[in-house]
């Protein structure tokens, strides 16, 4: 087996974000790390929409990002710390729209290790140096400078190591132009490692240490080190230093030390200031719980600065420092607003706040005000004795605020994110859909959602209206060449034409010069200010003064097909003749003296737009009934001569020539594509050679069951093609690469571009008798999302085989269930205390739920109707029970009735795993699946993490035990048990009498059930330990699984062993066989292994295209959706593996990680080709492309075609 890995949807989580002027223009951009990808986002200041400029796979794990600018520079650089053991400085080149590696310095081993730097990055605010640190000990300082040619230079590293020191955070101090200083938050463990009494551990101090880089001596010294709060976790830079022009100080310099419950201002030789972090006054608050700051951002404005700090609850605090030159007078903190918990916060100079959420959708907010003069209570260090530092070891009295809705910020844009995908199922349940949908259980806590993902572009309908009849075509047209918007909509019916004018309203107009008594074949704004209508009996040339020049078809003939552009018109007559017209310099339409006889009925015609600065386009494509397409010259030298001919497999139904940019073929100028739609629903795309008019590089794609119609449209001012069949597809250029994606919209019969003031980049289409105006808001996305909100973090979901509903279990740790909340409130009320209803009723999806101590759970079972995207029912679990597994089981003891079994546990603790009691809840599915009736609860001694129906009974993984249960009257009856599993059973799958058990730590076990002896026997296992996160059976002997470190692998059992086990009636043979490697008697063989870089949370074996092959579709925690496609032939394997090898050498990773080492992070990559790497072939420079293609004995086009074919046949994407 050989697999091809393709990522359909790259990870959508943002682990870090930085803001800067990366393109060197005045506009600010945001660079985000998506774990294994770097993206440059550009927020539009006018519309507030965030768009992706470039996205690049780095083939490594990004751990830290920082931004710096050299003194006097105008452009920002990004520094990337990763697991490559190298520091990389990236520059964004707006010309080629790519990241350019400016420097790559190796300092250590690869991998996210304890003492290899890469975890933390800090830069000097003046861009003179940077520090990169590890979690323990190692800190390296690099000096940044310019050489004579003003290029960025980087020095060799200077060590600032401290042995036995754990590093919590580092930050660059703002010291102006004095020697750069870095502050680190460190703890020394050497003493606590030696002291058996534990006293040293209790007294361990967290030190705030300053490291000064002496630029003169080229040396780093530990300048200052003082103990600070032992629960400090984060440092924030405070502005300082003098401006060059004046003596004034920007700020006091130093750092904010964010601790549990407190913020401390700290600087060398300066008094400390301490303020409490205000808490929500919530009746359900856990008073023992501290509050920490998890994200922070400092913003400098003219002559002022402030901080926004975010607590782990999502509350933003505005922190200000009152200072007199370098002396701090007061540190003040107040509640600002509440936004989703962020992994990074970015403030843009244009007044936006970008919140890269740690889970769920990312948000862009606009500042309305800065909370300067509101009634929010402010807490100042001056109101405490000695600025709050009278007794640093005891906490300050707690400060409280009242959470409320957004006041200072407004939401302007949201970036959809699937992160985290906890479970997913691939099903095709939508009516009239030929490709399956992915149902992904996403999100965490109250922001969770169940999302339905469909392949296709989202379409936003602007307006739709019913028409009196069924039109067969629609056009829009401007009146003059330089009009910004369209003025007319022309609808063609079987026996007439209707013209509508676009204004305040859309209404019919009569005196347009268009013939209304006949259908229309083509409409064109021609020349400077004239219009053209082609109808079956002639061509009407409507001049600007409404005079009409008409060309009439000779008697007995009609026009069957027409194509037009701004200067040329070609019509085909029913006599299979072509007539060619061209606009002369006076604006007169002149017929070419000869007509061209084609010999076969013409079915379709197309000419391209007139290239800029030219008189005409030189080629005409003609599709004839004899199943050919001919390219005919329109050049004055050889007018109407046939240049080339292509044979087809079916009669053509439409042709469309368009000049589109595809960087895979030509990096600079657009390529001329001839798209040929056939009557059998197949689309051929060929490239027209601009020199000799030959057709090359044909690619085919099946679009649908109806004859194809092709329409040239404008997509964001670039040419695109709409292909209409039984589904509508859009072919467009996005980020210089060609995309071909279906539209998720009603079937269209005809469509055209539409541009009006309210909808400048829209499309207009007809479906049946309805006219629809729509636009495509999210170009570049391949999956459309529809979501259903959930209450708690989804854990698992299951489909019912008969009723089509999804049963989903949700649960949140450290959250009180609804019954516990009510009990606690009643208790408070009984004590006579008042309950603040306002705070209680705050929406949980914004403010989250109050945190409860460990071991507290809120959970429930949800029934979802996926077709109508709604929740049918929600059954909360009470008594601190939480659901962990779910299955639909048809019990043969109940005549095969399907029951829902939910594995739950009460008072569950995660570490170490314990519960007061586990339960298997058996529910009767009533009311056509819309409701559940609890039949009984069966107690278990451990958490049932996996349940599954098996041969009319239930098989359950209860902690370390695998058990078989049968239905009983009062509870489930335990029939047989196997307790040989080592840690905990997390997945179950079955076929026949075989059960595949995934263990939390020890990989996959093959178990067989022998009914005569009532035995569950483990007969095979894996030779390696694996922390299984998901597993699925590929066939009877093969299993594909993902583990917790981001690997996906395929194991197979020898078929001889399989047969032998199946043939043994009692299992006595297996029982007495000798174990191998302290395990089962047989071992599985590793067939394929691949490091995805994201934790695989579900694997589904599905076929994504109608009639296509089955592939393995996996989802990753950070929002990845990918597929593993088995290769069909040995040649393909050889070809693609060789291409991958070449790509590895040509396409270096952006973070400097070796590709082979990355894909073989834990276990060497085996029998899997990285399709994402291969597909970057399209982005390589042309010379490299041709040299690689040469080595493979192919042309560049053939390589690209092969790659596209692999993608399209497997996924349809």
């Amino acid at each position: 087996m050989h697999l091809y890995n393709l990522t359909l949807q790259p990870p959508t989580a943002i682990t870090q974000a930085i803001v800067g002027n990366f393109s060197g223009a005045r506009q600010q951009e945001i660079i985000v790390s998506r774990g294994t990808r770097l993206e440059l986002l550009r927020p539009d200041v006018q519309t507030g929409k965030v768009s992706t400029v470039i996205a690049s796979d780095v083939f490594g794990s990004i751990r830290s990002l920082a931004v710096f600018r050299l003194t006097g520079g105008t452009k920002d650089y990004a520094v990337v710390g990763s697991d490559s053991g190298r520091i990389v400085i990236l520059d964004y080149d707006p010309k080629t729209s790519s990241f350019v590696k400016v420097h790559q310095e190796t300092y250590g081993k690869s991998g996210a290790r304890r003492i290899v730097p890469g975890q933390y990055l800090a830069v000097d605010p003046k861009g003179r140096s940077l520090m990169i640190a590890a979690v323990e000990k190692a800190k390296l300082v690099y000096i940044l400078n310019r050489d004579a040619a003003a290029n960025l230079t980087i020095s060799s590293p200077l060590e600032a190591h401290k042995n036995n020191a754990l590093i919590h955070h580092i930050v660059g101090l703002d010291v102006g132009f004095e020697n750069p200083v870095f502050a680190a938050l460190e703890v020394d463990y050497s003493e606590s490692d030696q002291d058996p009494t534990g006293e040293a551990f209790n007294n361990a101090e967290k030190m705030l240490t300053y490291y000064e880089l002496d630029l003169g001596l080229n040396h780093v010294v530990r300048k200052w080190s003082e103990p600070t709060d032992p629960r400090a976790n984060l440092l924030v830079q405070v502005p300082g230093g003098q401006l060059g022009s004046s003596d004034r100080y920007d700020g006091p310099s130093g750092v904010l030390v964010c601790c549990e419950d407190h913020i401390i201002y700290r600087h060398m030789d300066a008094p400390q200031h301490r303020v409490p972090i205000p808490r929500r006054r919530h009746p359900l608050e856990d008073p023992d719980r501290g509050l920490i700051i998890t994200a922070a951002v400092m913003h400098k404005m003219k002559g002022a600065f402030f901080f926004l700090l975010q607590s782990e609850e999502g509350d933003l605090y505005k922190v200000t420092i009152e200072h007199d030159e370098q002396d701090v007078r007061a540190l003040k903190i107040k509640y600002f607003d509440t936004v989703p918990i962020a992994s990074s916060l970015c403030i843009l100079k244009s007044g936006f706040l970008f919140v890269a959420a740690e889970f769920g959708n990312h948000q862009l907010y606009q500042f309305q005000k800065l909370g300067d003069d509101d009634n929010e209570p402010e807490f100042s260090s001056t109101s405490y004795s000695s600025f709050g530092m009278a007794d640093p070891s005891s906490p300050l009295p707690r400060a409280y605020f009242h959470p409320r809705g957004l006041d200072n910020l407004t939401l302007v844009d949201e970036l959809e994110s699937l992160d985290p995908i906890v479970d997913a199922k691939v099903l095709n349940i939508l009516p009239n859909s030929d490709s399956p949908q992915i149902f992904a259980a996403c999100g965490r806590g109250a922001r969770s959602s169940l999302r339905m993902l469909r392949h296709g572009l989202e379409v936003e309908e602007v307006v739709s209206s019913d028409l009196p009849g069924i039109p067969n075509a629609v056009w829009t047209t401007k009146l003059k060449e330089d009009d910004p918007f369209d003025s007319y909509i022309i609808l063609s019916f079987v026996n007439g034409t209707l013209v509508l004018s676009i204004g305040e309203t859309i209404e019919e107009v009569q005196d347009t010069g268009f013939l209304s008594s006949a259908p229309t074949l083509a409409v064109q704004q021609i020349g400077a200010d004239a219009l053209l209508q082609v109808h079956p009996h002639g061509i009407r040339h409507v001049l600007s003064d409404r005079r009409v020049n008409e060309w009439r078809v000779p008697d007995g003939k009609t026009i069957v097909s027409a194509t037009t552009n701004k200067r040329q018109v070609v019509v085909a007559l029913s006599s299979a003749e072509l007539v060619y017209f061209e606009l002369d310099l006076d604006g007169q339409l002149n017929e070419y003296q000869d007509r061209k006889a084609m010999g076969s009925t013409v079915l379709a015609l197309s000419i391209a737009e007139v290239p800029e600065g030219r008189q005409r386009t030189p080629y005409l494509a003609v599709g004839c009934e004899d199943q050919t397409v001919r390219i005919i010259s329109l050049d004055p030298e050889s007018t109407l001569e046939t240049i080339s001919l292509q044979a087809l497999t079916a009669p053509p139904s439409a042709i469309c020539i368009a000049d589109m940019l595809d960087a895979g073929i030509n990096k600079i100028s657009p390529t001329t594509f001839v798209n040929i739609g056939l009557q059998n629903g197949v689309l051929l795309r060929t490239v027209l050679d601009p020199i000799n008019g030959q057709l090359t590089d044909t690619r085919t794609r099946f679009l649908g069951t109806r004859p194809i119609r092709l329409i040239r449209v404008a997509i964001q001012r670039n040419p695109g093609i709409l292909a209409l069949s039984s589904r509508s597809w859009l072919n467009y250029t996005y980020q210089n690469l060609m995309h071909f994606t279906p539209l998720i919209f009603e079937n269209l019969d005809y469509a055209w571009s539409f541009s009006a003031e309210l909808c400048p980049e829209g499309l207009i289409g007809i479906s049946g008798s309805v006219l629809r105006i729509f636009q495509i808001p999210k170009l570049g996305t391949k999956l459309k999302q529809d979501s259903i909100p959930l209450s708690y973090t989804p854990r698992k979901m299951i489909t019912h085989p008969a009723n089509g509903y999804l049963y989903l279990i949700e649960g949140d740790h450290r959250v009180m269930g609804e019954d516990a909340v009510q009990a606690k409130l009643a208790e408070i009320r009984q004590k006579g205390q008042k309950v603040d209803e306002d705070v209680l009723n705050l929406p949980a999806e914004v403010f989250g739920r109050p945190k409860a101590p460990a071991g507290t759970w809120a959970s429930g079972i949800r029934i979802v109707d996926p077709v109508n995207a709604r929740t049918v029912n929600f059954i909360p679990l009470d008594n601190n029970e939480a659901a962990f597994s779910v299955a639909v089981v048809s019990f043969s003891a109940r005549g095969g009735e399907q029951m829902l079994v939910v594995g739950t546990a009460k008072d569950t603790f995660l570490a170490p795993r314990s519960c007061s009691s586990g339960f298997l809840r058996t529910y009767k599915i009533i009311n056509d699946g819309q409701d559940l009736e609890l039949l009984h609860k069966t107690e278990t001694n451990d958490v049932p993490l996996a349940v599954l129906g098996f041969q009319g009974r239930l098989v359950a993984g209860v902690g370390k035990a695998l058990r078989l249960y049968d239905m009983g009257k009062k509870k489930l009856l335990r029939k047989v048990e196997n307790k040989t599993f080592s840690s905990a059973i997390v997945t179950l799958a079955t076929q026949g009498s075989r059960i595949i058990v995934g263990d939390m730590q020890e990989s996959i076990f093959y178990v067989t059930y022998k009914p005569p002896e009532n035995r569950l026997l483990v007969f095979a296992d894996d030779s390696q330990p694996r922390w299984i996160s998901s597993a699925t059976m590929v066939d009877y002997n093969t299993v594909a699984a993902g583990d917790r470190f981001g690997n996906v692998f395929v194991n197979r059992l020898d078929s001889k062993v399989s047969d032998q086990v199946d043939d043994d009636p009692t299992g006595a043979g297996i029982l007495h066989e000798k174990g191998v490697l302290a395990g089962a008697p047989h071992k599985t063989v590793l067939l394929a292994h691949y490091h995805v870089g994201d934790i695989v949370t579900s694997i589904n074996k599905v076929s994504l295209v109608a009639g296509g092959r089955e592939v393995l579709l996996y989802t990753g925690l950070h929002g990845t959706v990918g597929i593993l496609v088995p290769f069909i032939s040995k040649e393909d394997v050889d070809f693609i593996s060789t291409l991958e090898q070449h790509m590895r050498t040509e396409q270096g990773s952006l973070v400097g990680r070796d590709h082979l080492a990355w894909r073989g992070y834990y276990v060497p990559v085996k029998a899997v080709v990285d399709g994402d790497l291969c597909e970057t072939f399209a982005r390589l420079p042309a010379t490299k492309q041709s040299s690689i293609a040469g080595e493979l004995d192919r042309t560049v086009g053939e390589v690209l075609k092969k790659l596209e074919q692999l993608r399209v046949t497997a996924s349809g994407f």
């Binding site: 989580a13 682990t15 774990g35 794990s61 990004i62 751990r63 697991d83 991998g111 996210a112 290790r113 304890r114 003492i115 975890q119 979690v135 323990e136 000990k137 754990l166 590093i167 919590h168 703890v187 463990y189 606590s192 490692d193 030696q194 002291d195 058996p196 009494t197 551990f201 361990a204 629960r231 976790n233 920490i292 700051i293 998890t294 782990e312 918990i341 992994s343 740690e358 889970f359 906890v422 965490r444 806590g445 973090t793 450290r814 945190k851 460990a854 995660l910 570490a911 170490p912 795993r913 840690s983 905990a984 939390m1000 917790r1044 470190f1045 981001g1046 870089g1093 994201d1094 934790i1095 925690l1117």
Partner: protein, 113 residues
């Protein structure tokens, strides 16, 4: 020290990085052993976590846990995974992981001499 490490997920948690062992053969001549030992000391100073012949169970375990904890902090997906399981913010999980690195396996056993 026999205390189960308590990470917020079921059961044990992964030991990701194995400590590197440097074997010193006992058949070497004393002189050679001397130079090898200085090399070893150098290695130990340079590469924290390197094992040696006299490594105690406590030291080995502490190294394992510190390696694991730092690996969790260093892999964004693992950090997300644990924080979803535990219902805490990733920032909190990261902080608690680094805090725990100070003494992941309790105080060292008393020396009996």
């Amino acid at each position: 020290m026999d205390k189960q490490p308590s990470l917020p997920w079921y059961g044990h948690y992964p030991k990701i990085c194995k400590p590197t062992y440097t074997h010193v053969s006992h058949t070497q001549s004393s002189e050679l052993r001397y130079t090898a030992n200085t090399q070893l000391e150098h290695l130990h100073a340079r590469y924290t976590g390197t094992g040696h012949a006299d490594l105690t169970k406590y030291e080995w375990l502490t190294h394992q846990h510190r390696d694991t904890l730092s690996s969790i902090v260093g892999h964004p997906t693992l950090l997300s995974y644990l924080s979803i399981a535990d219902g805490e913010a990733t920032g909190r999980v990261k902080f608690e992981m680094v805090e725990r690195m100070l003494q992941p396996c309790g105080p060292p056993p008393a020396k009996d001499d």
